[in-house]
């Protein structure tokens, strides 16, 4: 099973200039941030689904389907506990089930899901090298940009390693789900230690290999890949910027908020 999210599909989004893609990532986060109402978030969600379809990123969304579902479900549920506005539709202990809490909670869940979807879409269509180049073009120093992108590259490796450790300990009869939340957290010690030790070893090996390949000779290395800014990139930049302005406008003029009756 592939452990990285990048899918080589060569769609129009894949071929966009990396700076535009990094900018789009930022604008999507920005847009999601300004609105709360699910109806205001819906167009962004539809856009994500359409992009996932055209970029061939569906397998990644499918892999993470439970994360999306659980994120929306539990966020909605959690806000029914804390967001106690509007008349209750049904009287329940702890949970305040009102139209307002339902809409607000669902909106928050959708918001988190869209942030996750944006990241998945970005990583499905952007190579690590493009990410580095995009950050570099935006003024981020090469080493900082490389470190950020390396973290994206390493995270799946560590997750994969953690899953293997969980399997190894399960096979020794270990039950991770015994006890309350704190006891359960403590029961992950047999996972955390091997993963941490493995991560240290891997990081050390990688640091050695990087330097052995010349990482650090130059503060601004050259780039094998040329990223010319084409007309389509400028157009995409304008569209993305337009979405950002539109969503700020929605917020500014008072749309996109949740009205409490």
């Amino acid at each position: 099973m592939p452990i990285y999210l990048y899918i080589d599909h060569r769609s129009a989004i894949h071929r966009l200039h990396p700076t535009v893609k990094v900018f789009a990532l930022f604008v999507m986060f920005w847009s999601v941030y300004w609105v709360d109402h699910p109806l205001a978030l819906l167009p962004l969600g539809i856009l994500m689904v359409a992009l996932a379809q055209t970029t061939g990123a569906w397998p990644n969304f499918y892999r993470l389907r439970w994360l999306f579902i659980l994120l929306i479900f539990f966020t909605t549920l959690a806000w029914m506990v804390f967001y106690r506005r509007g008349p209750a539709l049904i009287n329940l202990p702890i949970i305040h089930l009102s139209r307002a809490s339902l809409v607000f909670g669902f909106g928050r869940g959708l918001k988190l899901a869209e942030l996750l979807a944006t990241s998945v879409l970005f990583l499905s269509t952007t190579k690590v090298e493009e990410f580095t180049a995009g950050l570099q073009r935006m003024g981020v120093p090469y080493r900082v940009g490389f470190a950020i992108t390396l973290a994206f590259r390493l995270a799946p490796l560590f997750i994969d390693s953690a899953l293997t450790v969980v399997q190894a300990q399960s096979l020794r009869g270990y039950d991770f789900n015994r006890g309350g939340p704190i006891a359960r957290a403590r029961r992950y010690v047999p996972v955390v230690i091997p993963v941490f030790m493995g991560a240290l070893r891997k990081a050390n090996n990688m640091a050695m290999a990087l330097e052995a390949r010349g990482f650090g000779i130059s503060a601004a290395p050259t780039s094998y890949i040329d990223f010319p800014m084409r007309a389509r990139d400028r157009m995409a930049f304008a569209i993305v910027a337009g979405i950002g302005v539109l969503y700020f406008g929605i917020y500014y003029f008072g749309y996109g908020a949740i009205a409490v009756n």
Binding site: M1, P2, I3, Y4, Y6, D8, P59, Y62, R63, K127, V128, E129, L150, R153, L157, S161, T164, V165, Q167, A168, Q169, S170, L171, R172, G173, Y174, D175, V189, P190, V191, I193, P194, M197, G198, R201, K202, N204, N205, M206, A207, M208, A209, L210, E211, A212, R213, G214, F215, G216, I217, S218, P221, T222, S223, Y224, I225, D226
Partner: protein
């Protein structure tokens, strides 16, 4: 140390044991040579002790690497091989705290003021862990990485990528994701990325440790090509037969060079190799057993030597009809292992499996493991071996088909539910070790099963004795050697008293001595009645230890039978990236299917 046998030319060997005998040539190597005649690299009285260690990893090593020379560096784990290699580009002492002494020169110039990255254009290094040395999302970018760091112009980088990929046989792979390559391809990519920099010296630190036989063959074929091109290479390796083509062999022990010379001189010194943790070539072992004091450079050469001494040996042309005869003979001589089995411990019935959106990894696989069996599961990387094993322990659920454990369908059961029936030792022992002491690590499993304190203590004692770690019971597992940690991983699973023990590549990363120790333990467990299923890439290990072989290809079980029969089937071996050990392959030419040099020697002696 005395050279034994007339084939060992005393003048070709430099011995540096307790008496520190050094040849005139080696002794005359000057520290300050420079210019065109300077060696590509030289170590002069280099010593290094890691911080916190009371012994030296390197202890006064003096060694020259001359232009165009290929040196094979061998020795047990911990002998100092990797430390020596890392001194050549200053990873030691730049990355490792410790006490460094002596002098290292590259092209005649001392490197003590240099940074590791500054040496990248001069010294290229390929590491054992290929996952840790590939950073890019496509093959061309990977090759370009070091050149980008060196600030080369885009046109120059582009001009070098093609030839580098072509040199390692990866032409046309430019756009492939490195993670999608096989192990052998990944290592060849790592070599290509080093080659593109055109360094003076290429160091390969056990580059084939995690590879299947085909991957190993690919990498060593590439090394031979690079040697023919006149590159200067230092190759670290445990298997002596792979280094027969080197110009010079150097053996390290306890951080010091104890022998140095041409392969023909060193390879025949079986005792020296074995005591240095190196697997001596089977052909040399065989000749030694037959009291023939010659060095065989290949199977053809060994055949000629042996026929000269045993002219009555039969000649077997490898025609299909004769192969069939051999197989028939083998089948007649092998008692089916499963015939007497009362009830299988584990069964796979037409199991198929695929990851979401992925290709089929298991394809209608059938397998039955009976009590007391010793089964080797082999096949190239990605053939489905580990996936098959994970179905047996419930880490994966079949898409179609079913898995039975002790006659019970394991569908819906948690992995832990069958821990008493089937134990699984992961390839990397560090994936399970976490406790503060060896004893606690072993007690973890029985404690999870809810056993009483007396029972746990008894099991800990039993397995400590079985794996011979009693003296280390109070030690921190993270401070043990790789071989000891591997045995601890076995012990911690054994404490659950499984009837079937699955070991996934248990000898990976171990030197020959540790491999033998590990396999002696596994054999002893099998003799005590535990069924063994071992996943491995190592042909000699299958030949010597397993009785039944299961060969997998693209998710299918393509052979399930006696090991001896497998090694008589050239058709199967050729199509599965597996090969018979050299002694077995040689024996086939005389009409035998011998599983070890000892067995072959006995058969040959019958024709004296």
């Amino acid at each position: 140390m005395k050279a034994r046998g007339h084939f060992q030319r005393e003048d070709a060997i430099t011995e540096r044991n307790e008496t520190l005998v050094v040849t005139a040539e080696a002794g005359s190597q000057s520290a300050a040579t420079s210019g065109a005649d300077a060696p590509v690299a030289a170590l002069e009285e280099v010593a290094f002790a890691y911080a916190g260690s009371d012994h030296r990893a390197l202890d006064g090593v003096t060694l020259e690497l001359r232009r165009g020379e290929t040196i094979g560096l061998m020795g047990a784990s911990g002998a100092g091989k990797s430390t020596l290699a890392k001194c050549l580009n200053r990873i030691v002492p730049a990355f490792e705290d410790g006490d460094f002494r002596g002098r290292v020169t590259i092209g005649g110039r001392a490197i003590d003021g240099s940074q590791v990255c500054e040496l990248a254009p001069r010294v290229g290094m390929v590491f054992q862990d290929f996952e840790a040395q590939l950073f890019s999302t496509n093959v061309a970018h990977e090759v370009a990485f070091a050149m980008e760091q060196a600030g080369m112009a885009r046109a120059e980088i582009a001009a070098r990528i093609g030839p580098a990929l072509e040199a390692v046989g990866l032409k046309g792979f430019d756009d492939r994701d490195p993670t999608s390559l096989s192990g052998g391809e990944k290592q060849r990519l790592a070599i290509a990325s080093v080659l593109a920099m055109r360094p003076d010296l290429i160091v390969l630190d056990e580059p084939t440790t995690d590879l299947d036989p085909e991957g190993r063959a690919e990498v060593f074929a590439l090394i031979r090509r690079l040697r023919a091109e006149g590159r200067t290479l230092l190759v670290i390796e445990h298997e002596a037969e792979e280094l027969r083509g080197c110009d010079r062999i150097v053996i390290l022990r306890d951080g010091a060079v104890i022998a140095e010379g041409e392969p023909a001189s060193v390879m025949g010194r079986l005792e020296l190799l074995e005591t240095s943790g190196v697997h001596p070539p089977d052909l040399n072992r065989l000749l030694g057993m037959l009291e023939i004091r010659e060095h065989a450079e290949s199977i053809d050469h060994a055949e000629a030597i042996i026929r000269a001494h045993f002219p009555d040996l039969p000649r077997v042309e490898r025609s299909e009809s004769e192969a069939v005869e051999i197989i028939a003979e083998v089948r007649a001589s092998v008692r089916p292992e499963t015939a007497a089995a009362p009830e299988p411990i584990a069964q796979l019935e037409r199991v198929s499996f695929a990851y979401p959106f992925g290709p089929r990894v298991l394809d209608t696989a059938d397998l039955t493991i009976a009590p007391g069996e010793f089964v080797a599961v082999i096949g190239q990387n990605g053939s489905g071996k580990t996936t098959l094993a994970k179905h047996l322990v419930g880490l994966l659920q079949p898409e179609t088909g079913r898995v039975l454990i002790a006659g019970r369908d394991r569908a819906g059961l948690a992995p832990a539910a069958t821990a008493r029936e089937v134990g699984y030792v992961f390839q990397n022992p560090d994936h399970q070790i976490f406790a503060g002491t060896v004893e606690e690590e072993i007690a973890f499993g029985p404690r999870n099963l809810g056993l009483g304190a007396d029972e746990i203590a008894q099991r800990v004692e039993e397995v400590l004795a079985a794996v011979n770690l009693g003296a280390m019971r109070g030690r921190d597992p993270f401070l043990l050697s790789k071989g000891e940690r591997q045995r601890l991983a076995v012990a911690s699973v054994l404490a659950l008293r499984p009837r079937l023990l699955i070991l996934d590549e248990p000898t990976t990363g171990l030197d020959y001595r540790e491999q033998r120790k590990m396999m002696a333990l596994v054999r002893a467990l099998n003799r005590d009645g535990i069924a063994i299923m071992i996943i491995t890439h190592t042909p000699w290990l299958v030949a010597e230890f397993a009785r039944r072989a299961v060969l997998m290809r693209r998710g299918r079980v393509v052979f399930d039978g006696a090991v001896r029969e497998l090694f008589a089937r050239d058709d199967l071996l050729a199509g599965s990236s597996f090969r018979a050990p050299e002694a077995t392959a040689l024996g086939r030419r005389f009409g035998f299917v011998a599983l070890s040099p000892e067995e072959l020697a006995e058969r040959i002696r019958g024709f004296a």
